[in-house]
């Protein structure tokens, strides 16, 4: 047990779970303040999510919906995580996600390209868009957070402009891919059958998990990962060792941007949502990716679990009793929980320092006992 407690991965897990519990509790308190009568049942609904339904078929269908949105979140979380391992804070993931969404939608709706081509073009576009941040950082020492945030807005309005060409005539929403260009939809390969014919469930979900594993391997087993992490940990030492640290910074952001853009393509090429060309705020997916990355302990496998959790409670928020609360309540509750996710590393630190202290105390006592025994 003690050995387990000292294990780094286990500590992260415990800290993450603690964050979740505290987050849920705080959400509950907020609900209590707004309207005490529905608080308990509402928070239970959030946790239950698709279990809200009594029929097994509906449960499966709604679990599928949660998974459909988990895939893009996982990609954004991998994007943030990858850059973070190299010492860069890619808050621009939100904008790169928008670029990926826009390019994939445009390729599908205007050019009627095959789904694989749509994904690849989104991937390339995300990489190029993030390269702007990388070049500014590497060559002009512009902080990646500043340029990332600016580019997020440019991406949003750029996307709105381009996608206005492929929107429904009477609404701000883009056309349905199903009607316009069925070959642009990511195939299900039978996965939809597993979720009660939920046609939005596509191979994007297993693909995202495979990409998480690829990132894990890339970071830990390859020469490129070795170089990138060295650059992130100590860019002076990387330079001293002859690594091209400027190239590494640009390359890192390109990979990071490509990952986020894939997230956009994964969501919109399933036709689950339509892009609203009148939206005036950057979609939260990229920002939630930051929370998911930290909640997952900055580990790609952890990201899979944390992305699912965050999407689970976000979807669960939809089942809060809207006769007692305003419709924004679901976003409020999930954002409180996501906010708490940022505290994972603080809690982890608290756990390990507490552990060290108690160990020292025990060692001291053991020695004292031993000596007492010796004297007797």
């Amino acid at each position: 047990m003690k050995k387990l407690l000292k294990n780094d991965a286990f500590q992260t897990l415990i800290a993450s779970l603690l964050c979740i519990v505290v987050g849920l509790f705080l959400g509950f308190i907020v609900l209590l303040f707004i309207n005490p009568s529905g608080a308990a049942s509402s928070i239970v609904e959030v946790i239950k999510n698709f279990m809200h339904f009594s029929s097994g078929k509906l449960r499966l269908k709604n679990l599928g919906n949660t998974l459909v949105k988990t895939a893009p979140l996982l990609m954004c979380s991998l994007s943030v995580l990858f850059a973070y391992k190299v010492g860069l804070f890619n808050i621009g993931a939100a904008g790169q996600y928008v670029v990926g969404s826009a390019v994939s939608l445009y390729c599908a709706l205007a050019l009627h390209l095959n789904w694989l081509l749509c994904i690849l073009l989104a991937f390339v576009a995300g990489a190029i868009y993030a390269a702007i941040v990388g070049v500014l950082k590497a060559l002009c020492n512009v902080n990646e957070v500043i340029s990332g945030i600016m580019l997020n807005w440019i991406a949003l309005y750029g996307a709105n402009t381009i996608l206005s060409n492929v929107k429904e005539p009477t609404s701000p929403y883009t056309l349905h891919i199903t009607g316009e260009s069925p070959s642009s939809l990511i195939p299900s390969l039978g996965l939809d059958k597993l979720f009660n014919n939920n046609s939005y469930v596509t191979i994007a979900i297993p693909l995202a998990i495979i990409i998480a594993i690829v990132i894990l391997v890339l970071l830990n087993k390859t020469k490129l990962g070795y170089e990138l992490k060295a650059t992130g940990n100590n860019k002076n030492a990387a330079k001293y060792a002859g690594m091209a640290e400027k190239r590494n910074i640009i390359l890192t952001l390109m990979i990071s941007g490509a990952l986020a853009a894939l997230g956009g393509a994964f969501l919109y090429l399933s036709d689950y949502e339509q892009w609203s060309c009148s939206q005036s705020s950057v979609p939260g997916m990229g920002f939630n990716g930051i929370a998911a990355a930290f909640l997952g302990g900055l580990n790609p496998i952890g990201s899979i679990l944390s992305s699912y959790f965050i999407q689970h409670i976000t979807n669960g928020g939809a089942y809060v009793d809207l006769t007692k609360y305003s419709s924004q309540i679901s976003d409020l509750i999930s954002s409180i929980i996501i906010y708490l996710c940022g505290f994972v590393f603080f809690l982890k630190y608290a756990i390990s320092s507490r552990l060290e202290k108690s160990e020292e105390k025990r060692a001291r006592k053991a020695i004292a006992d031993h000596e007492k025994g010796g004297e007797e």
Binding site: K221, T222, K223, L224, Y226, E227, K229, A230, N233, N234, N236, A237, A238, K239, Y240, A241, G242, M243, A244, E359, E360, A363, R364, I367, A368
Partner: protein
């Protein structure tokens, strides 16, 4: 009788899981004395001081102040008892002025408004009294290391501390500043302050301390009067055997020119003047050439230019007959240049990488360690284990130890192992023994001479006079970015070297 001691630490024992850091150690500091605490890295000096500052609680033993037993639970208790410390790495706010730093934490105020006039008067009076010259309005980032240290000392005096601890205070100073510090310490002691001087530089201890307590591997070895002992005897106490101060080496047999630097010029970051100005020299096979000089006279920039960390603004460099003036760092490294950097934390190591990952920092891309883009972990482990064994690099968990968790001496040994094992034609070693203990210094000097004898060219950059006199076959003195003298260590004296270093003497050097 007890009254004569300002602080007594009696029979202190402090254990950590698996190790006894302090084993029944007694340290008695008399009022008005300078008491040296001598020991190698890992001898338990830091732990003992942490106990005195209340950072650790000892399992056994008592601490007495003026003969009365005290319990020090945290650093605030230590401050209240008048104990102050100048850390090896200064604790100063870079963008604050000297005065602001001195009053930091004990700012005199009326209803929340600073009363700096009062503070200034007190600081200036103290500065006058002890000969601690500082400019109270200068920013820390603009002043010399020596003045930063005087600021730290004033910080202690401003708080009316009676017991002053200096943790390896000379490691960062130039020879002139060291002399000044010695005078200051003696002044302080004469005014009744009690000084604890932590060091492993024997010459300084012999020069300034009244008594010396020696620790070795957590054990108390003894306390001696410096008047009645010698540096040799102290060092034997410290390392448990006789240490050879003099570097044993046969006369050098210089061969082909390996490094040929012509008219090298490197621009300075802060000033208009060039940091390195029109410097030319050669290093041959089988010789150790030392660049000597006071810190900040262009040595760092010279090495940066040589190794590719900074671009040259003029001149050429040839390595083994090939022009490498514009070559990237990687090509210099694979072309036969090894570099033991000045700052092992900044350049030499990735501190959050394991020891084995650091061991391949210069070679990870070679086919032995990378195949198809994947690291060959088994080979890396085997290679690291061989270096650890061969160069006696000690660490808690062997190859998987985090570099951050290793002692400074072993970090340096790891770098030296890595750089020497590359089998270079030219070894550039910049202050390779900085901050290390006698045993490690002896080891590193032997390695440098061994490289020379194996037919390598060695370029040593050093600030330590003993090292400059002892190790190289040829000395080049740098002053304000230029080489102002070439000396033969066998024929010159420390005094003559000092004159060149201070810019009082210069020759036209033709190499």
């Amino acid at each position: 009788m007890d009254q004569q001691y300002a602080i007594e630490m009696l029979n202190i024992t402090k254990r950590f899981p698996g190790i006894i850091a302090n084993d029944n150690i007694t340290l008695q500091l008399k009022k008005g004395e300078i008491h040296a605490l001598l020991g190698e890295n890992g001898a338990g000096k830091s732990t003992l001081m942490s106990v005195l500052f209340g950072l650790y609680q000892p399992e056994e033993g008592v601490i007495k102040k003026d003969g009365v037993e005290v319990h020090i639970k945290d650093p605030n208790d230590a401050n209240r008892l008048g104990i102050g410390m100048v850390h090896q790495h200064f604790k100063l706010v870079e963008c604050f002025t000297v005065l602001d730093n001195i009053i930091l934490g004990v700012e005199p105020n009326k209803a929340g408004f600073l009363q700096k006039g009062e503070a200034r008067a007190k600081v200036m009076a103290l500065s006058e009294k002890y000969g601690l010259h500082v400019d109270p309005d200068a920013l820390i980032e603009d002043i010399t290391v020596g003045m930063q240290q005087r600021t730290e000392i004033l910080k202690m005096l401003y708080r009316d501390n009676e017991i002053l601890i200096f943790d390896e205070p000379t490691a960062v100073l130039t020879p002139q500043e060291i002399d000044e510090l010695m005078v200051i310490m003696k002044n302080l002691a004469a005014e009744g302050k009690s000084i604890l001087f932590i060091s492993h530089k024997l010459a300084e201890i012999m020069a300034v301390a009244d008594r010396c307590t020696v620790l070795r591997r957590g054990k108390y070895i003894g306390t001696v009067e410096t008047k009645s002992t010698t540096a040799e005897a102290l060092s034997a106490m410290m390392v448990g055997r006789n240490v050879n101060f003099h570097v044993e080496k046969k006369p050098s047999k210089p061969g082909d020119v390996i490094l040929d630097v012509k008219n090298m010029t490197v621009a300075s970051k802060g000033h208009k003047k060039n940091a390195v100005n029109d410097v030319s020299f050669k290093v041959r096979r089988g010789e150790i050439v030392c660049i000597a000089g006071i810190d900040g006279n262009g040595q760092t920039e010279l090495v940066y230019g040589l190794t590719g960390l900074e671009p040259l603004s003029g001149g050429t460099i040839e390595l083994c007959g090939k022009d490498i003036t514009k070559a990237p760092i990687r090509r210099r490294s694979t072309g036969g240049m090894s570099h033991i950097p000045e700052d092992r934390h900044k350049h030499g190591l990735v501190l959050d990488y394991t020891l084995e990952d650091n061991m391949v920092l210069q070679r990870y891309f070679e086919p032995e360690f990378t195949k198809m883009g994947f690291l060959r972990r088994k080979n890396i482990r085997a290679y690291a284990e061989r270096l650890i064994e061969q160069y006696d690099v000690r660490s808690g968990q062997g190859p998987v130890t985090m570099a951050r968790a290793m002692s400074g001496g072993n970090q340096q040994k790891a770098i030296i192992a890595r750089e020497i094992d590359k089998n270079p034609d030219l070894l550039v070693a910049v202050q390779p023994t900085r901050g290390l203990d006698v045993g490690a210094i002896e080891y590193i000097h032997k390695q440098l001479v061994a490289q020379r004898d194996a037919g390598k060219a060695v370029l040593l950059v050093s600030l330590e006079l003993d090292e400059v006199m002892d190790v190289p076959d040829r000395i080049l003195v740098m002053y304000e970015g230029e080489i102002v003298g070439q000396l033969d260590p066998k024929k010159t004296t420390q005094e003559e070297l000092g004159l060149y270093m201070a810019g009082a003497k210069r020759d036209e050097v033709i190499s």
